[in-house]
């Protein structure tokens, strides 16, 4: 059971988030201010920290900076009411690994926490494989079995992202941030349409779909069983 530390000063929000994450199989502990949060963070072996940006006692960014200064590399997700790109950049600079603006949905939070826990290790591999799918990162060629896939550069990036997170659920917001690299949120159905096009290229008739839609959350890619 992954151990998650939630540092959030609003007790109702904290309880809602904690309950949901426990239901999803996390061991959640809650700290209510920055100072307590820092102590608890130092005192345990955490798999991931979810920290509110604005905290009484000690600001969330300060907590993160302090932890990073102590060479604590626990993945951290910042929750913030401030959605400005500059704020986001500041958050990431302070040592955050992801940044989520309030209000958010719990599925979005869960998907991002999951992504932090299963961050793909920085690998030097130039060939990615999932089942029959093969991606050559050097030539930017993708094949499924014997069939070469005719992908646009963006589709290739999208597929690469999905392949690297095989088995994880990724949300449209995550895709837009990571694949398109823009920090504003487009219409949700934009990503859906892109994904639809990618899937049509990926799955020939009769083949098992590689990418599945997870209703209400996002998408997941896995090898056909």
């Amino acid at each position: 059971m992954p151990k998650l530390l939630l540092i959030e000063d609003d007790d109702i929000t904290a309880e809602e988030i904690a309950s949901d994450l426990r239901w999803r199989g996390f061991g959640v502990e809650v700290a209510v201010d920055g100072i307590e949060g820092l102590e608890v963070a130092r005192g345990g072996a955490w798999d991931v920290i979810v920290i509110d940006r604005m905290l009484p006692g000690c600001d969330g960014l300060t907590v993160l900076k302090t932890l990073r200064g102590e060479d604590n590399k626990v993945p951290a997700l910042i929750l913030s009411a401030m959605g400005h790109v500059d704020e986001r950049v500041r958050g990431l600079r302070a040592g955050g690994d992801d940044y989520l603006t309030k209000p958010f949905s719990l599925v979005e939070l869960a998907a991002r926490v999951e992504a932090l826990l299963r961050r793909p290790a920085a690998s030097r591999e130039t060939l990615l494989r999932v089942g029959p799918l093969e991606l050559d990162l050097i030539t930017s060629k993708a094949t499924r079995g014997q069939r070469s896939l005719d992908l646009l550069p963006r589709e290739f990036k999208l597929l690469e992202y999905m392949v690297r997170r095989e088995g994880q659920v990724v949300t449209p917001a995550m895709l837009f941030e990571e694949v398109w690299n823009y920090n504003f949120v487009p219409q949700s159905n934009l990503i859906h349409v892109h994904m639809g096009r990618l899937r049509r290229k990926l799955d020939a008739s009769g083949e098992t779909p590689l990418i599945e839609t997870v209703r209400g959350i996002g998408y997941t890619l896995h090898a056909p069983t």
């Binding site: 959030e8 609003d10 109702i12 929000t13 809602e16 988030i17 949901d20 009411a81 959605g83 400005h84 790109v85 500059d86 603006t101 309030k102 209000p103 958010f104 949905s105 719990l106 599925v107 979005e108 998907a111 646009l152 963006r154 949300t171 449209p172 917001a173 398109w180 823009y182 920090n183 504003f184 949120v185 487009p186 219409q187 949700s188 159905n189 934009l190 990503i191 859906h192 349409v193 892109h194 639809g196 096009r197 839609t213 997870v214 209703r215 209400g216 959350i217 996002g218």
Partner: protein
């Protein structure tokens, strides 16, 4: 308000200052006049003494007689004279002796002599005198009373007094009158201002029609009040719009939940009800987020982080992003980037992309199936112009300006979903960058142009462009205001509900949190 003291009014203070300056000037002037007059009198006297002394000296034999005649012809009783022999004995004249401090054979000097009053008393008299050794060795001294010179100073002092007194009095009076008048006007104005401050915002300052400085000030203040009232009205209507946009989805969420509580029986039905309610809540978050976002952009704190942005690349990427959507609706999106490459504008890449994406989103949304959307970047008159155009229904001319206002909705688009913020977001981004934003006609359809002027900075950075400026112009057809509005709303919804919007009928595990 503290009562204004008359003596503290500017008018009174100026009057006093002028009176003081005038008094000082008068004194200097009169002193000069006195000095000049006295000098003239003395010179006259000296000439007369020298002339007479010469006459007497030229005829030593008749000197005694001549002196006596001169002294006798003295109508004003101002002449003094004496002739003293070798032995020092006075031979003729009305002075007891030659004044001790009189040096003979020099210029006339001021000396003191003994003199007799008409009533016989001896007294010391200050005179102008000239001493002369005659050819026969006798000493001649001639003098003249300086009373005349002294009289000049008395006259001048009196004139000074007579002139200055009334002038100072008049200044005081004038200052007081002007001060009172100014005070009266100021009191009236400050009354009017107090009333406005107490909430009667439609109040205006009275204007007398005299076209004086107070009128001018009042006209300016009134104009300012008009602007303030207009802005307040705008804020009020924006507030109303926001309230409306919040109330609609909140009401829907509430009724949906309330109805489900009573009527729903199976878990699946509950889940559906909750999902629907969550959808409505997400829409309220979308409104709030959009309003905050525009506020952030309008604050304009991001300018410092501006960098040269390749506008052509932004157009290409935006077109790419919307390509599948356009394809689905069988709309042709054409991208025309005229400046070969590297046409940059100083700006924020994310915001500029968001602006173009918003415009493109609208264009695609309002273009009918098989329609055309044009994205172009051209240089025109030293500016870079980004154009987003479509052949949809266009925006009515009367609405073109208003669609840029926050939350404005053309009546017919009221029914559509969304937040009225898409175009206002674009407008805010344009303003932040100092770009021009115009909505025009594309014959048919809508054409939005984003004009990027004054690119001197970016040009020096871009290097390639020797032209003066580049411009962005975004032309697009937001024929319908809700287009713009809804373009931002789903984004925000997306932020709020993440995956929720992808498939809105979901199991009930989502929860929008807002803390």
């Amino acid at each position: 308000m503290p009562r204004l003291d008359l003596f503290r009014t500017t008018a009174f203070r100026w009057a006093m200052a002028f009176a003081a300056a005038f008094t000082g000037l008068s004194i200097v002037l009169f002193a000069f006049v006195y000095w000049q007059t006295a000098h003239y009198e003395r010179a006259q006297m000296d000439t007369m003494l020298r002339h007479e002394a010469t006459l007497i000296a030229n005829d030593p034999a008749g000197a005694n007689g001549a002196l006596r005649t001169w002294l006798r012809d003295d109508a004003h009783n101002v002449r003094y004279g004496i002739l003293v022999g070798h032995d020092g004995v006075p031979q003729a004249g009305n002075m007891p002796s030659v004044p001790k401090d009189l040096w003979p054979d020099t210029q006339p000097q001021s000396v003191t002599t003994e003199a007799h009053d008409p009533d016989g008393d001896q007294r010391a008299e200050r005179i102008r005198a000239l001493g002369l050794k005659l050819a026969d060795g006798r000493t001649l001294a001639l003098g003249s009373d300086t009373d005349a010179v002294e009289h000049v100073s008395v006259v001048i002092l009196r004139a000074l007094g007579l002139g200055l007194g009334p002038m100072v009095a008049l200044s005081l009076l004038g200052g007081a009158v002007l001060g009172r008048r100014a005070l009266g006007r100021v009191t009236i104005l400050s009354h009017a201002i107090s009333e406005i401050r107490e909430g009667r915002l439609s109040g205006r300052l009275p204007i007398t029609g005299r076209r004086d400085e107070f009128d001018r000030l009042a006209v300016d203040i009134n104009a300012m009040m008009d602007e303030i009232e207009r802005l307040l009205e705008e804020v009020r209507s924006v507030g109303d719009s926001i309230a409306h946009d919040l109330r609609t989805p909140l009401t829907r969420a509430r009724t949906r939940l309330e109805r489900s509580r009573n009527a729903v029986t199976t878990p699946a039905e509950f889940a559906a009800a909750i999902d629907e309610a969550l959808g409505w809540l997400d829409q309220t978050f979308a409104v709030i987020t959009a309003v905050l976002r525009i506020g952030e952009i309008e604050h304009g704190r991001r300018r410092a982080a501006f960098q040269p942005v390749d506008l052509g690349q932004i157009l290409v990427e935006a077109a790419e992003l919307y390509d599948p959507v356009a394809e689905e609706r069988e709309i042709t999106v054409r991208v025309d980037v005229e400046p070969a490459s590297g046409a940059t504008a100083m700006g924020d890449r994310d915001l500029l992309f968001e602006a173009v994406a918003n415009l493109l989103d609208n264009a695609i949304k309002f273009t009918p199936r098989h329609g055309h959307v044009l994205l172009s970047l051209v240089e025109r008159d030293g500016s870079l112009v980004v154009t987003v155009a479509d052949d949809g229904p266009g925006i009515a001319e009367a609405d073109r300006k208003r669609v840029l206002e926050r939350f404005y909705r053309a009546e017919r688009s009221r029914q559509r979903e969304g937040v009225g913020l898409g175009l206002s977001l674009v407008a805010a981004i344009a303003t932040l960058h100092g770009f021009g934003l115009t909505i025009g006609d594309h014959h048919p359809g809508c054409r939005v142009e984003l004009t990027c002027r004054d690119l001197t900075d970016s040009l020096s950075l871009a290097g390639e462009h020797s032209d003066t400026a580049s411009k962005i112009e975004a032309v697009d057809a937001a024929r319908d205001v809700s287009a713009f509005r809804s373009s931002s709303s789903p984004q925000q919804m997306f932020r709020a509900s993440a995956g929720g919007a992808v498939a809105s009928k979901t199991s009930g595990k989502r929860a929008g949190l807002n803390s």
